[in-house]
């Protein structure tokens, strides 16, 4: 009996002392943290992808709480919804950023871009780039070793086995990891567009037209036809390479039709039913294009 009492007493006293020590230590070393940081973090997607430019969601939440003007901050993963929810917690204003998506600006498939040699080194685009220009005559295009796929934490990009080019899926959240990983700078974040419709030049070859065309049949040759055709001045040509500015582009698709090498790609558009009439129909007004889009809303995404 005595033993039991002594044991209980000893352990009880020990426990109390330890609890007291813990309590005072916790009080003494307490760090004040704005409780709103936790709340904002709660509202964020918790993907910790770094797409916002901060090391993780918590750092982003801290930045949101601390800075008065949060218009420059954006969580590409969560999008407008998340941002307004987070802003509501803080009572701050947030400007809705247009959702972005990654696009792969190379279409050098095996047929389009014949191989001139074969790579046999470590399976990494970064290693391959540091060694040489690539397996084909085009030293700008995709190397196909899949560094972009490796870094994607959202499973939103995969290598197409037939073309050995990466394909972005619709669940891309535009965190930008693949953009940073690609040593050839082929991947770009562009406006996702209404219904995911987007038009872009799927080439980054800056060589002269003849050279580029010889290396790859779907290369942009810098002929400027699209630039002249564009009614909105959305296309510029620099270093033998056309670029469509997505802030000006109204998705009229005229450029797609005139490109002699089919270097300009359209994604998620309905198939054109009457091809020969298309240039004339699209020549009218941007509104016409819009109605065209609406009328074909029953069309499903052609890419998946």
């Amino acid at each position: 009996m005595n033993v039991v009492v002594i044991t209980i007493l000893t352990l009880g006293i020990l426990g109390t002392v330890a609890a007291l020590v813990l309590y005072f230590v916790a009080q003494k070393f307490k760090v004040f943290e704005d409780p709103r940081i936790d709340q904002v973090e709660e509202a964020l997607p918790a993907a910790n992808c770094g797409g916002c430019g901060f090391p993780g969601c918590r750092a982003f939440a801290e930045a949101m709480v601390k800075s008065d003007d949060i218009s420059s901050l954006n969580c590409p993963v969560g999008g407008a919804e998340t941002m307004s929810a987070a802003a509501a917690i803080l009572g701050k204003e947030v400007s809705a950023a247009a959702p972005l998506i990654a696009v792969v600006k190379c279409h050098g498939t095996c047929e389009n871009r014949p191989k001139t040699n074969s790579y046999d080194g470590a399976g990494s685009c970064a290693v391959s780039t540091s060694l040489y220009g690539g397996e084909t005559g085009c030293s700008h295009g995709c190397l196909g070793e899949g560094d972009c796929v490796d870094v994607c934490t959202f499973d939103a990009i995969y290598m197409d086995e037939k073309t050995s080019l990466p394909v972005v899926k619709d669940n891309c959240v535009a965190c930008g990891a693949c953009v940073d990983a690609c040593p050839k700078n082929i991947i770009e974040l562009r406006k996702a567009g209404p219904k995911g419709r987007r038009i872009f030049v799927s080439c980054i070859n800056k060589d002269k037209g003849g050279v580029a065309k010889k290396a790859c049949s779907v290369a942009c040759i810098g002929c400027k036809k699209c630039m002249k055709e564009c009614p909105f001045d959305a296309i510029t040509v620099e270093n033998n390479l056309a670029y469509i500015h997505d802030d000006k582009c109204k998705l009229c698709r005229k450029c797609v039709a005139v490109c002699p090498t089919n270097a300009i790609h359209e994604i998620n558009f309905p198939p054109k039913k009457v091809k020969p009439v298309a240039p004339a129909a699209a020549a009218k007004k941007p509104e016409a294009v819009k109605t065209d889009n609406n009328s074909s809303s029953d069309n499903k995404n052609k890419e998946e």
Partner: protein
């Protein structure tokens, strides 16, 4: 001509391969196998065959159905694990225990960490220690050595020299009184003592060591460090009190020390990368072995010593670096 291949330098390779290294170790273990069969007969042969087959089988199954990778049994590492496990078991142990040991060794010790090269502990030793703790009776029932005995169930719990020594010292006898009753050092070198299937024949093990050193499969650092530190540490104890501690030569020749030092401690993935690290690792094993043998409850400690030091390998690798070029201040004028 096909398209030219482009790859980073170097454009030549030595032709060395995992297979060559692994089968080199297997060849180095053949003398041990021969002496084991000579001493323990059919029993040893069946233990070895069961163990190797079970290890290869489990590796194949796990690789194919759980990890879903390409088969890796061809590289020979499962054979090594199987042989080592067998060498660490009594020659009269029931087959089902061997199979359990093989499953633990391959499944828990090797494949659960990602297979070849990723195991932090020596798989065979993990299997052995698992069996030793789970089946202490069967694991310590040794058969007497003979000249190729043909009988299968020749159980004779004639304890190992280490066991005899430990018990007698505990009873207050001095090593000098005990040693004459034990097999002579020469007998121990040739393996004519009771013990596990492959750990007794010192000469055969040393032959394997020479083979591996010549083929540059391993370097001398780990085995020599283990043996030397055992000799020194046991020697100090013996020198301090000859009546209470066995002589160092006895410690080296008895038990699984040589087998452990040569084949188990040198396991690639569970030993340190640098040579300096290897020496520290070896000394640790030697000291812990003697500490367990002399002060611990078990008569033998090499298995535990190696496993304990295996756990220190990442730490050793982090802090013990190879000698860098230009580390010493240059002798410029």
């Amino acid at each position: 001509m096909s398209t030219l291949t482009i790859s980073p330098s170097p454009h030549v390779h030595s032709g060395d391969s995992v297979k060559k290294n692994m089968y080199g170790v297997v060849i180095a273990m053949i003398p041990v196998l021969i002496s084991s069969v000579y001493n323990f007969g059919i029993g040893a042969l069946s233990v070895v065959a069961t163990s190797v087959l079970a290890c290869v089988f489990f590796e194949y199954i796990i690789q194919k159905y759980i990890l879903k990778g390409e088969s890796t049994i061809g590289d020979g590492s499962a054979i090594i694990t199987g042989l080592l496990l067998a060498f660490n078991l009594p020659a009269v142990i029931p087959v089902w225990i061997i199979v359990i040991g093989a499953l633990v060794a391959i499944g828990m010790g090797k494949m659960s960490f990602g297979g070849l090269g990723n195991n932090p502990f020596n798989p065979a030793l993990l299997g052995r220690v698992f069996l030793l703790i789970s089946f202490p009776v069967q694991m310590t029932s040794w058969s007497e050595p003979g000249k190729f005995p043909m009988k299968f169930t020749d159980i004779n719990s004639g304890a190992t020299p280490l066991g005899v020594m430990k018990e007698a010292l505990g009873n207050g006898q001095t090593p000098d009184q005990i040693l004459p009753d034990l097999p002579s050092y020469t007998d121990m070198l040739w393996g004519f003592t009771s013990g596990s299937a492959g750990e007794m024949a010192g000469a055969a093990i040393l032959l394997g060591l020479v083979f591996m050193l010549v083929r540059k499969t391993i370097t001398w650092h780990i085995p020599i460090a283990v043996i030397a530190s055992v000799y020194v540490f046991a020697g100090i104890l013996h020198w301090a009190d000859a009546a209470a501690y066995a002589p160092p030569t006895f410690h080296i020749l008895s038990g699984g020390l040589l087998l452990g030092a040569v084949f188990m401690a040198t396991d690639y993935s569970s030993s340190p990368m640098s040579k300096k690290g290897g020496i520290i690792f070896g000394i640790g094993i030697g000291v812990i072995t003697i500490a367990i043998r002399v002060f611990g409850a078990y008569p033998e400690g090499i298995s535990f010593a190696i496993l304990i030091m295996n756990a220190f390998v990442p730490l050793i690798d982090k802090y013990i670096k190879p000698k860098r070029f230009g580390e010493k201040p240059a002798t410029a004028k």
